[in-house]
Amino acid sequence: MTHTFLMLIRRDLLLAHRQGGASLLAIAFFVLVVSLFPLGVGPAPEMLERIAAGTIWVAALLSVLLSLDRMFQADLEDGSLDQLALLPIPLSLVVLAKAIAHWLTTGLPLTLTAPLLGLLMQLSPDAYGALLIGMLLGTPTLSLIGAIGAALTVGVRRGGVLLTLIVTPLYIPVLIFGVSAVEAAAQGFSTTAHVLFLSAMLSGTIVIAPIAAAWSLKLALD
């Protein structure tokens, strides 16, 4: 079972690598959206510093959203979702493997890019740690919640907009705690509470999201 699970992650990474560009697109979108803000609100450092955390987090969230709709759609279209559903492991583990692969190809690269954008946004030097840890804990949650939305809209024509409408409200808690962790760190407060909240959300969704997504995938295949 572990073997199949790891093979599934490798499969999605191989496909992402072959089809190319998934990670690069997400990063490019992330960088572009964030770099719009200095142009839009002006380059005054104190202004940028105030909006840095929110801007980076919102842009990361949008980048993840943008990459969600192919999570199951491509596999449904060519029939390989049937084959995945018929593997001798529970469908929820298939979903978990795909969510992990999704995070490795989007959430992780975004997390690693975030400090560079912090530089651009005049982020306070004390806040980089909180930004990194927050995104490290928050982006997997985004991928997992996104899996539910992607599974719900998998058979829907032009489901991308619907997916956004379903998933965005569910992203709000991650956004709130992610941003406030950075702001707390910038002002010299402890970030333990925020980090614990982000960890709790990750632990919760890692259990619930694969099961919920597996259920909606079963309905889509039925």
């Binding site: 191989l14 496909l15 072959r18 060519d78 049937d82 018929l86 593997l87």
Partner: protein, 230 residues
């Protein structure tokens, strides 16, 4: 041949969009047997196939494998079954050999090589070609070659002959025959003849529509109203 059936489906019924597609279908399959599903378009051949595979929940009835309902040990059943749907389920960005290796490894069968499977369907020379450059028939051959990459007792083939030329149909017939000789079982939904030893045939006929009419006979007004509405 007198072995007990491993796969049994009892009084299966399918409901699609509030319409009863078939009802009272019984399927039994013992080692070495081939079952051909026939029926007009839309009779529910694919639905029955997906139902046996466990992708579609039966509206009524039950599928059992080795005497136990498949729902009791789904993973065990899936490990012994390969479903080849009418979509080929291949990744076009990968080569034929990569597709097969992926399929084999996901099912935990490292040892069998993809080359002999491709050779059995006459496309051994195409193993390094990405699937997106292949014709429909070649893709179908690759998708059928999966049957030989991971061992499975039961093969479910939904329209396996689509896009295949006569040579490939002969090869599939030989592969199916060899599988049956080894005690394997095959269910194939196809109208054309599969070469090789003949098997059982199950025709799926639509359920009698009279049941609905009977219900309305006591209330002719309701029936009239319905027809006018339709």
């Amino acid at each position: 041949m007198a072995e007990d059936p491993l796969l049994e489906g009892r009084s299966l019924a399918a409901l699609r969009g509030e319409r009863l597609i078939f009802t009272g279908i019984d399927v039994t399959l013992a080692p070495g047997e081939l079952l051909k599903l026939v029926g007009r378009n839309g009779a529910g051949k694919s639905t029955l196939m997906r139902m046996i595979a466990g992708l579609v929940t039966p509206f009524a009835g039950q599928v059992t494998w080795r005497g136990n309902p498949v729902g009791d040990d789904r993973d065990g059943f899936c490990a012994e079954m390969i479903y080849a749907g009418h979509q080929d389920g291949l990744k076009t960005a990968l080569t034929a050999a990569e597709n097969l290796a992926l399929f084999g490894r996901l099912r935990g069968a490292e040892s069998r090589s993809a080359d002999h499977a491709l050779a059995a369907f006459g496309i051994g020379d195409l193993s390094d070609l990405p699937v997106r450059f292949m014709s429909a028939g070649q893709r179908r051959r690759v998708s059928l070659a999966r049957l030989l990459v991971a061992p499975a007792r039961l093969w479910l083939l939904d329209e396996p002959l689509t896009a295949l030329d006569t040579g490939a149909i002969e090869q599939l017939g030989a592969v199916v025959d060899a599988h049956r000789t080894d005690g394997g079982m095959v269910i194939a939904a196809t109208h054309a003849d599969l070469p090789g030893r003949p098997g059982k045939v199950l025709e799926i006929v639509p359920p009698d529509p009279f049941d609905d009419d009977d219900a309305f006979e006591d209330e002719p007004d309701a029936s009239d109203g319905l027809e006018a509405g339709a």
